[in-house]
């Protein structure tokens, strides 16, 4: 019963793919035999069919979540994206752009049109409208669920062209295959993961590809295309800042290494100026390109380019080198001075905003931990563990340095770019878990170069051998130096065997990579995290659908204007699935508001009641995993609420909730901890419940302890609903007592 129709949809797609494979295989076999195509044509056919297969593979490997669960939106942010897309398709673009959402951030509200990257929603709506026009009566949810896999498929094509541009078509194909199944990318682009990153990685890679193409050709057309790619990226994801900093850095490196050329000048200027103007059309970005510190590097390099060009012209005009040297010194000094002065004045006068906290925390990983708890509290903002690198990249992690070696061996404008992209993004991936995603295309491309170059060398070694053996000639035809040298060598068979062994080893590694990727995708990255699945005592699958149970209860059985207070993680889901107003949500734009909620959660009940009254709260929602052993619940997130609340309201002090620096919920817990609102709401009447055989009542399975306060009385709140596995508990805030 579970997701039956969806599974069938998935199955249809899955079966369609092999059928197509078969078709193309047949086609290629057929053409090989009867038409005797020329080698070039054969190669083209092979390339196109491989690319087609990779395209399909990238799509179907992301459908695990649909097969295992159902066609649904995953996690947190995608619910907001889904809700806005729904609004866009129902009300049209104009309404969407001017949407003031009164259902979130009560009582402040949120200007949706001005505070989001609309690229994803517009893309999905556009696909939806196109399909509708073609008389496919699809539901918008299906479009949203499949947007990310569709764009992942498109990314493989871009990766192919990019690989072709920086190395050769072989590397391009390998890169396409790598990126199609790389877990680092799949983690953000499985079906249902309807998030900005899904389309943004496509846009990022497209922009980079078009820019490198523009630098290589010096063509205005490519530069223009790159500017549009950048525009799409800006409209889709805040990660565009990476582009607008990486490209200037790259240009700067080219300038320093003396690779300045007219091609670069055309490419960069066109891309920067047009890209900037286009980006200003996105309301959320606005004038940041000229006003924000994060975008100043691009502008600085833009002016530097002009100086270079000017100097070039002067050099051309002045025949005297000595004179030119003097002129150069003056010009560069004055240019730098003017630039520094402008930056200083701009920053001092507040015209140029300083770097934001998120940007700082990228450059200094410890910054967020000390200064912005709200950024540090997000799990995907944590520094990356080695294991997750291994998990997400697998063999690519070893191939990456090898690829860098090949790139350095054959330096060109394009390889310099990919090296820089690879190194910087690897650094960022180390700083934040979620930025592994940005590094993935670079890692795939560079590893593909390593694989392609190695295999090419090895196979050419094999081929020359066989040729020499057949023809009996002593010279390797067109082989590398090593192979021609080897043909003279006595130990011919040994080398040949060595090459074969190495090739087999490479194929073994690659097949291991493929199995690893499939396993990771099916086991780790295909869970919607709304529906929790576990294995029962008899090996059967147990589904905890408590989140939706609670949200649907809110939607159906509370007044339509009810305000729900919860920790910000659940804000988007409550508005999208519960259709109720929330106090704070995952768009953490107002730290004070979130801190107020954190303060309410960490105060005693009567103090919290005052805060909740002031915020017009009708219901309080907490997530509790004590019965099921679900560990990412509110008690485990509670210290962050204390920290964030304490960051704004000093009355909340973290040590009050700790005992000798330990965070505990059992009898030895701090008294403030045992009596704060969050504790009370999570454990209300939990003391009467026996959760595990042989344990005392009130045994918390998520933390493995017996709770410290079993006699919880609520004065100002009452239990309104608790889901069947207790994961979500909703309390109603009582109206104030009559005074007399």
């Amino acid at each position: 019963m579970v997701g039956k129709t969806e599974s069938q949809n998935g199955a249809v797609k899955a079966t369609a793919a092999p059928a197509m494979n078969l078709e193309s295989d047949l086609f290629s076999n057929f053409s090989f035999k009867s038409f005797k195509l020329k080698t070039k044509q054969q190669e083209l056919l092979l390339r196109v069919s491989i690319l087609g297969l990779v395209y399909i593979l990238a799509f179907i490997t992301r459908l695990f979540s649909v097969l295992r669960y159902e066609s649904m939106i995953h996690e947190f942010d995608p619910y907001f994206n889904y809700r806005t897309t729904l609004f866009l398709t129902e009300k049209g673009f104009y309404e969407f752009w001017n949407w003031f959402d009164s259902e979130s951030w009560y009582p402040l509200g949120r200007i949706i049109g001005g505070t989001l990257y609309p690229g994803l929603m517009v893309t999905a709506a556009f696909i939806y409208w196109t399909l509708r026009f073609l008389r496919f009566a699809v539901h918008i949810r299906e479009v949203c669920v499949l947007t990310a896999p569709f764009f992942a498929s498109n990314t493989t094509v871009v990766a192919y062209f990019f690989g072709k541009e920086i190395w050769d078509s072989g590397a391009g194909l390998v890169a396409a295959a790598f990126i199609a199944i790389c877990p680092g990318y799949i983690s953000r682009s499985v079906a249902g993961s309807y998030d900005n990153e899904g389309v943004a990685i496509f846009a990022l890679l497209l922009t980079f590809y078009l820019f490198v193409k523009a630098v290589n050709t010096g063509s205005l057309a490519w530069a223009l295309a790159s500017a549009f790619g950048y525009f799409y990226m800006v409209s889709a994801w805040g990660g565009y800042v990476f582009i607008i900093n990486l490209i200037p850095l790259y240009v700067l490196v080219l300038l320093i290494t003396g690779r300045y050329s007219m091609r670069l000048y055309v490419a960069y200027n066109c891309m920067y100026v047009l890209g900037m103007l286009l980006a200003m059309q996105i309301r959320f970005v606005g004038f940041q390109h000229v006003q924000s510190g994060e975008h100043m590097a691009a502008m600085g390099v833009f002016f530097l380019m002009q100086v270079f060009y000017f100097l070039d012209w002067v050099k051309y005009m002045l025949s005297d080198t000595k004179l030119f040297q003097a002129f150069l010194r003056i010009t560069v000094t004055s240019a730098v001075a003017v630039g520094a002065l402008a930056l200083g004045v701009g920053t001092a006068s507040g015209y140029i905003s300083p770097w934001t906290g998120r940007f700082y925390s990228l450059l200094d990983p410890t910054y967020a931990k000390d200064n912005i708890p709200i950024i540090a509290s997000v799990s995907e903002h944590q520094p990356t563990a080695w294991s997750s690198f291994m998990f997400d990249f697998h063999i690519l992690l070893f191939l990456f340095p090898a690829g860098l070696y090949f790139c350095f061996k054959k330096l060109s404008d394009a390889t310099i770019f990919i090296v820089m992209y690879g190194l910087t993004s690897m650094y960022f991936a180390g700083v934040m878990v979620r930025l592994i995603l940005v590094a993935t295309p670079a890692v795939c491309l560079i590893s593909a170069i390593a694989v392609s170059a190695t295999i090419k060398n090895l196979t050419s070694l094999l081929r020359t051998k066989s040729k020499t053996a057949v023809a009996g000639s002593s010279k390797g035809t067109g082989g590398s130096k090593a192979s021609s040298k080897a043909s003279f060598d006595q130990s011919q068979p040994f080398q040949k065997n060595g090459a074969i062994a190495l090739l087999l080893g490479a194929f073994y590694l690659l097949s291991k990579y493929a199995t690893h990727c499939t396993w990771v995708t099916s086991e780790a990255y295909s869970s919607p995290s709304i529906v929790l699945a576990a294995r029962g005592a008899h090996g059967n699958r147990v589904i905890f659908d408590d989140y939706r149970e609670a949200y649907f209860w809110l939607r159906q059985n509370t007044p339509p204007d009810a305000k729900v207070m919860s920790w910000w993680d659940y804000g988007y889901q409550i508005t999208a699935m519960g259709n109720r107003t929330v106090i704070v949500d995952n768009n953490t734009w107002n730290n004070t508001h979130i801190a107020t909620v954190g303060r309410a959660m960490s105060s005693y009940e009567d103090e919290a009641y005052e805060i909740m009254r002031s915020l017009d709260v009708d219901y309080v929602l907490v997530v509790f995993g004590g019965v099921t052993g679900y560990s990412s619940d509110d008690i485990n997130k509670f210290l962050w609420m204390v920290r964030i609340g304490g960051g704004v309201f000093p009355v909340i002090k973290e040590p009050d909730y700790l005992v000798n620096g330990d965070y505990r919920v059992d009898k030895g817990a701090a008294p403030k901890m045992l009596n704060c609102l969050m504790y009370k709401l999570s454990y209300y009447r939990f003391g009467e419940l026996v959760t595990e055989y042989g344990k005392p009542p009130g045994y918390d399975r998520a933390r493995g302890v017996e709770i410290g306060n079993k006699d919880i009385k609520l004065e100002h709140l009452e239990e309104a609903f608790t889901t069947s596995n207790w994961i979500v508990r909703i309390y109603k805030v009582k109206p104030p007592n009559n005074r007399w």
Binding site: M1, V2, G3, K4, T5, E6, Q8, E70, M72, R135, F136, A137, I530, V531, I543, D545, R548, E549, Y551, F552, W553, R555, Q556, N557, M577, R685, E688, L689, E718, E719, A720, F721, T722, T723, S724, W726
Partner: protein, 456 residues
Amino acid sequence: MEALLRPRIMLSLTIILIPIFLFISGASSHQIRINNAERRIDLSTHIVKVFLTLKVENTGKTSASEILLAFPPTQVDHLAFLEALAATGKKKKKTYVSLAVKPTQLPDAPNETNYYTIVLANPLNTGETATLEILYILTHSLEPFPVEISQSESQLVYYRDSALILSPYHIKQQTTFIKIPSNKVESFTRVEPTDRAGNELKYGPYEDRPPYSYSPLLVHFENNNPFSVVEELVREVEISHWGNLQITEQYKLAHAGARHKGIFSRVDYQSKPAFSGVSSFKHLLARLPPRVHSVYYRDEIGNISTSHLRADSWKISELEIEPRYPLFGGWRATFVIGYGLPLEDFLFESSDGRRYLNFTFGCPLVETVVDKLTIKVVLPEGAKGPSAVVPFPVEQRLETKYSYLDVVGRTVVVLEKKNVVPVHNIPFQWNDLNILFWGSKMEKKKRNSLLVMLVD
């Protein structure tokens, strides 16, 4: 109190009006006399079923072909179903003939009494008797009191009626039995002789009551049966020329019993099921046709994983569904059930080249009242001139729907009916009753198959 007063006023008015009425329309009511009336009111669920057995005799001079049934206006609004059968033959070889029933307006009806006319198959001659079996079903007739209950309380309801059968005829002898789900009765009106035995109340026998006698009756008793009411049900039946009949049913379900008040405690609900939330319900049973396939059960936010299907290729398939949360009084849930059926079981061809679809009209949920039922039959693209045959009055209109790869759109026949009850479960109901019939006229050359018609 107000509610109690009203019947009293009505009663007194009736008593005043009776002589006047007798003068005006003496003929018809003098003619017919009810020798024996037995009424069994079944209050075991929230759907009130009344079985009425009337032995009528024609005492007049001329033969009579119609019998009138009278209903007080409060009941007429809740009357969902009315059926009359005439019994013929002796005890063991009793056969029933269904009789036509139609609403009738009488110009001089006292107190806005509403009438239904039963047309007898054979006119009743002077001195002859006939036995009529009448079934009618009332919805929303049990009024919860107290209106709000907490989780630990059980649900008490009022049922109001008259101890004496409202009738335009003289009734010689009458008895009323009221069946109650349990023997927990808070109070009941006594109209002597009144007797209570276990879960049954007996009123009567009362002898020789004149026409329009009325004696208010109020029973206050416990009824914890699920008060499941579908406030709105839209059933979409889509005919595919690929041999499939796709049904999509959108439910807006509510618990129409006493409203839930105060806290909902999961501990109590889980650990003391016998004392906690007894009037709530969490299971619903839907009876689907045989050979049902591709069943799904979901709502606006996705699949609902709690459902079980017992599919059968010969018998009725049973789908047991659980809403996401147990429904307490006043709580609501919306959901969608969809399933496919083989078209050959439902679509037939008549000799004149028209195709017709036989399909049941009502709601597949057991013991559920549907306040408003909309049934939409989506015909294949290109079907023309549909008509629906339904044995009871419905609102009918045509719409156009665009589905996959449609150019001109599909004709949709929309039928709407208010206050629908699952009459399938009633034993003496006959089969043709709940059948929807449509035919689509085609040009002669395209008669051979449905597919041809669609390709065009």
